[in-house]
C-alpha cells in the first residue's frame, strides 16, 4: 500500500502538481456535515488524493491589470487535468473506482458539492488562514486544489500540526493595531488572534464573491433584473450596452474566476512563498 501511495503521488507530481497529499475519508467524515463526504459522491470511497498548483507566476502578482491576471490563471488549466489523470491512473493500474473533483462543481447555488479546503487541510497541504479560511501552504502560498476520490486504501498524510497562519509579522501587527494585512486590505475578512493563534475567523462570502466574480455571468444576471425594470426604452438600451455591458463579457463556460487576490497579495506567508519559489524580489 505504501509503494502504491508513493507511486500515485509521484504520478501527480509528474503530471504537473506542485504539492500532493492523501486524506483519509474516515477522517474527513469527522469534519463535514452529512451529505458532503467523499463517500457521498463515491460509495465505498477510502482515500482522497489532493493536489495543489500555484495559481500564478510570481510576476502575475505584480501586475495591476485584472484581465492579464486571469489569462495567466486560464493558462494553468492543467491543474484540473491532474485530477482526471490521477483518477484514470488508479483505475487503470490498480482497478479501483475513482472520480476527479475540480473547483466549480456546485451542489446548489454557490455551495460546492464537497469542500476542497477540507480535503486539502486533511491531506496536510496547508492550514486555514485568516483570509476567508483559505488553505495556505508555507512553501507554496496560495494554491488551487483539485482531488481524486478513490475506493483504494492508501496511506494518508496527516494534517499539519503547526498552523501556517498567522505569520509572525501578522501577530505583531495584531498586537499593535488589532488588525492584520488581509483584514486591513478587505472588509470581507474578520477575526481574532490570541496567543499567536487564530481564535476566530469570519468571512462574508457575498462581499468576496462580488470582488472575485466582478465580471462573472452571475453579475450580469443580477443586472438583467434592473435592465428589465427600466421603463424608458433609451435608458434600458444604454443600461444593456453601456459600461455595465462588460458584465456579460465572461460568458458561462469560460471559467473566469477569482478576479480578486488582494488579501493574498498582502499576505506575508504568500509573499514569502512567491520569493522562495522563484527567487524574485
Amino acid at each position: 500500500m505504501k509503494e502504491a501511495t508513493e507511486r500515485i503521488k509521484q504520478f501527480a507530481l509528474d503530471k504537473g502538481a506542485d504539492a500532493v497529499g492523501i486524506a483519509s475519508v474516515a477522517e474527513i467524515k469527522r469534519l463535514v456535515p452529512q451529505g458532503y463526504s467523499p463517500d457521498d459522491l463515491l460509495k465505498g470511497a477510502k482515500s482522497v488524493i489532493v493536489s495543489g498548483n500555484r495559481r500564478y507566476t510570481s510576476g502575475t502578482w505584480f501586475t495591476s491589470n485584472i484581465d492579464v491576471i486571469h489569462r495567466q490563471r486560464a493558462a494553468m488549466g492543467g491543474r484540473d487535468a491532474v485530477a482526471l489523470a490521477v483518477a484514470r491512473f488508479i483505475e487503470e493500474e490498480y482497478g479501483y473506482a475513482s472520480i476527479s473533483i475540480v473547483p466549480a462543481m456546485f451542489d446548489s447555488g454557490i455551495n460546492p458539492v464537497i469542500s476542497l479546503k477540507v480535503l486539502a487541510e486533511m491531506a496536510g497541504l496547508g492550514t486555514r488562514c485568516m483570509a476567508g479560511g483559505i488553505i495556505l501552504s508555507r512553501e507554496h502560498g496560495l494554491l488551487g486544489f483539485v482531488a481524486a476520490i478513490t475506493t483504494m486504501e492508501l496511506v494518508p498524510d496527516r494534517p499539519l500540526a503547526e498552523p501556517v497562519c498567522p505569520h509572525p509579522a501578522c501577530i505583531s501587527m495584531w498586537e499593535r493595531r488589532k488588525t492584520t494585512p488581509c483584514m486591513e486590505a478587505c472588509s470581507a475578512i474578520g477575526g481574532r488572534i490570541e496567543n499567536g493563534r487564530l481564535k476566530e475567523v469570519r468571512w462574508f462570502r457575498q462581499l468576496c464573491a462580488t470582488r472575485a466574480l466582478t465580471t462573472m455571468n452571475g453579475a450580469y444576471i443580477r443586472l438583467l433584473a434592473d435592465i428589465m425594470d427600466e421603463t424608458d426604452p433609451e435608458r434600458r438600451k444604454y443600461l444593456a450596452i453601456g459600461q455595465a455591458r462588460r458584465y456579460i463579457e465572461d460568458p458561462p463556460g469560460r471559467g473566469i474566476w477569482g478576479r480578486c487576490i488582494e488579501c493574498m497579495r498582502v499576505c506575508p506567508v504568500n509573499r514569502n512563498a512567491i520569493k522562495l519559489q522563484h527567487q524574485v524580489v
Partner: protein, 133 residues
C-alpha cells in the same frame, strides 16, 4: 393514432419520468423555481447568515481554528433550525445569493482599482481599465 401534439407528448413523458406528484404539474414558471415573495423577504437574511454565505470558525479553549468545522449550516440543518422544509430553504438561499444591490459590484471594481493604486506592492501603476467603474 394519438391526438396529442408533439409538445403535449413531450410534456406528458417528462412528467411520467419526473415521478413528481400531480400537484407539482401545471405550475407557472415563478412557482417552479421560487418561493412566495413574502416568505422570501421574511427568511432571506436569516438564511444568508446561517448558510455558507457568512462563515465563522471559532476555536474553543486554547485550541486554534485548525480542523474546526465551519459554524455554518447545510440547507437541511437550516430547515430544522427555523422550521421550514429543505426545498424552501434552498430556493430562498439560491435567490438570495445573487440578490445584492448592483452598487456592490461597482464598489468591488473600485475597491480593486484603489487598493492596487494606493498599495502597489511592486505593481505597475497602470490604471485598471478592464472592469466597470
Amino acid at each position: 393514432m394519438s391526438q396529442k401534439s408533439y409538445t403535449e407528448e413531450i410534456v406528458e413523458r417528462s412528467r411520467k419520468d419526473s415521478r413528481l406528484p400531480a400537484e407539482k404539474f401545471r405550475q407557472n414558471t415563478y412557482d417552479l423555481y421560487c418561493v412566495p415573495v413574502d416568505v422570501y423577504n421574511k427568511y432571506k437574511d436569516e438564511i444568508l447568515r446561517l448558510s455558507l454565505n457568512y462563515q465563522e470558525w471559532v476555536a474553543a479553549g486554547d485550541d486554534s481554528v485548525i480542523l474546526h468545522r465551519v459554524n455554518q449550516l447545510t440547507d437541511i440543518e437550516i430547515a430544522d433550525k427555523i422550521g421550514l422544509d429543505e426545498d424552501t430553504v434552498r430556493r430562498i438561499r439560491c435567490m438570495a445569493e445573487w440578490d445584492i444591490p448592483m452598487e456592490v459590484w461597482r464598489n468591488a471594481a473600485e475597491f480593486k482599482l484603489r487598493h492596487r493604486l494606493e498599495k502597489p506592492l511592486g505593481c505597475t501603476d497602470r490604471d485598471i481599465r478592464n472592469e466597470p467603474s
